[in-house]
Point group: D3
Chain length 166, copies 6
């Protein structure tokens, strides 16, 4: 058995766009590991609302205060990305029992595919437990005030994406 | 913000007695951290089936193959124990949505009491998702075969505790 | 703090079509409040099976025995509609833990957007706990007998929408 | 059918002791109804940690800013108390799916016993979703800092109950 | 592999006392199997409210219309009882996700102990989904009307057990 | 009431493609009933990944060791298929509380449509509790090793469907 403590973790997600809930998990992971890689999953079959480059730009702004966080993107299976990255720890947040059900199934599947990869779950902070990227998009689409749910530094980026073009 | 990766974690529980599910979590934690402390909670108001000393003896036998695991016991609040131990990471396994509900509430309460203490959840391996100390005790009480659920090296210890005295 | 008891509530939904479960909630809300507004959400991005006008016509027939119920429709965010209507109480029924999970998240988001708006949940009556508009549409699509799930006065309306055109 | 809007509600519970989560529900109910009765259930078979008189004293202090809230206590079935009080609306908070499961079962039973009595559920505010009287008692028992979870004006009362007698 | 269709099943429970929910499951099981054995679990460590003999008497009255139902009682592990009875099918009702969680864990444990024993779950009828023996006992204890929840023929038996002795 | 024990059951599903979890349920059902019909639902509105003929071919290979299993396909409502087949027992597996929620709702709807049709639930074996056809398709799409999740005899069939055409 390996005895070297894991120093790095990957926090995968769509981040379409990054929310305060994501930043909370990233900050907490950054206090636990020497290096956190925030990895944007891009699904060729499902175009997100924001291009991957824009999502990464927003993530970088939102995490500028966290020196030990780096950013990446990947397609395909998470376990393949983990192996390419030579990293064995996935971090995910859990907001609700629905999250737990889908995330624990995913974690078990990933362990079946790559037994050395562990998924560690952090319970979402209560203040962020109702925030989701899809809620932010929905509120922005209808002109509501989504600013309580995303980092202040990306509010304008999100706004621009939903504003009617002149 | 602290930038030192956490090297140590505490896995608290009653371990009354240790099960294969516990050992699975301990092994996985031992592969993630430099040092894992398995900490037996002794509740003065609720006598367990086995004395704390016996629980620790069984834990030590069951984890003899894990050099970076140490054992301890504590009373009172987990957050006080964490601070006394100068450790910031609690590890817990999740077998079911019922586990998730009670464990995430506990984790949030602990964060409210000690914001620097994080609880990391590991999803129980499917094979161990139905095992519990209370099930082992119930099966043993009625003379059933509990041996699939506990480490082979403690089967006799458990048996002795439930055998009628001559 | 305001001390005037709330006299009006809004019961929002798709009502595509209205079911006996909806009517049960409307009747119970109508016994609790001076005025209940049943508000059809029309989502420009998701065409329903029935046009909004038809949904309202069916709702009016199904609630003809309830003098203190009025009908409306809206697009955009519920909280904006609530403010335009100068109403602070949303009523929603809960059939299952899945309903609870999604509805409580929605209610918390709405409180974050408009702190004065409260969502009150009524537990669905057991008899109606498995009924949904989507089940009615599915059963009707395949020529099954959906009549136990919708008010008698709209059975023919639903039937007509699914009958093959001559 | 009755057409008079309900002006009064009952918020029943053990309040052993009152928490910030309780006060949040009481404040929100007091903004929705002309009069809220906070009714302490005393169960002869289960002595609480605090005597009913002390629980009421703490509730009154915690709700001193709410002029339309009154206090009472009762034994036996809630539906009998509702009928004696000539009140038809029960208010309860929901913190989790576990809460939802037990509370909706209770509400359905009460409707079977007294069809005119409705239970309205308010989703707990995220900040208060992990607080419970039993957690407060547990933390206080072990000398932890429970003050974030209860109204400031009752902290000393709770402390006194758990301090070792000289 | 065995190819003989199972003709008999066991429906185990406490039946303290039998409810309409139990009778519904028994009737449905009796339509599926040639023979249903209703088996009362008596737990030496947990005295029920009714003696086992009285529980069986009430069950027999409640199922007098079902010729292919027989009655028994047992202590110890269910799997041992199944083997003594040479029966491989356990039937249980599911009322809620909480039921599902505890019952599926129990079923998996029993399969680990006796792989040939299967547990078949029937979803409780919506009308009976909130009924439980413990609710009946609680309502009876406080003099409420529990008669909607139990078979008419045992109402007096239950009443007698809770009436104050003269 | 009918007193003839049910000898036949239907196990409906999409089987797109068959997984080890499906085969486990089929084997267990085949040990409980004289005849099991595995019935592929084909939904005209939702094309599967594999044509119905291919799904049936794979099912037949995967169940070649089970002499009392036959195969069929159907469109429309399950209850209509059950009546055409003169069969009263539906068998379904339950992997999670999410499964339980959707499956028990479906079972109740089916009982409302056809009261003589019962749905029996088997708890999924822990080893198969995270396997699903959609996970197999996702893993295969990205070139991962899905072979632990499907019968060995169909691995090549699945592979072929996802291999890039030359």
């Amino acid at each position: 058995m390996r005895r070297v403590a894991e120093k790095r973790c990957v926090y995968p997600g769509s981040f379409d766009p990054v929310t305060n809930g994501h930043v909370d998990i990233i900050e907490r992971a950054a206090a636990l590991f020497d290096e956190v890689t925030v990895a944007i999953l891009h699904n060729p079959a499902k175009t997100g609302r924001f291009p991957v480059e824009k999502r990464m730009e927003m993530l970088k702004k939102a995490c500028a205060h966290l020196p030990n966080v780096r950013f990446d993107h990947f397609g395909g299976l998470l376990v393949d990305y983990m192996r390419r990255s030579d990293c064995r720890v996935v971090v995910r947040g859990l907001r609700s029992t629905a999250d737990f059900e889908s995330e624990s199934t995913m974690a078990q599947l990933n362990r079946a595919l790559a037994p050395e990869v562990e998924t560690l779950f952090l319970p979402a902070s209560p203040l962020h437990s109702v925030v989701s990227s899809s809620a932010v998009r929905e509120i922005a689409l209808f002109g509501g005030d989504f600013s309580p749910f995303v980092p202040a530094c990306i509010v304008q980026d999100v706004q621009n994406a939903f504003d009617p073009k002149p």
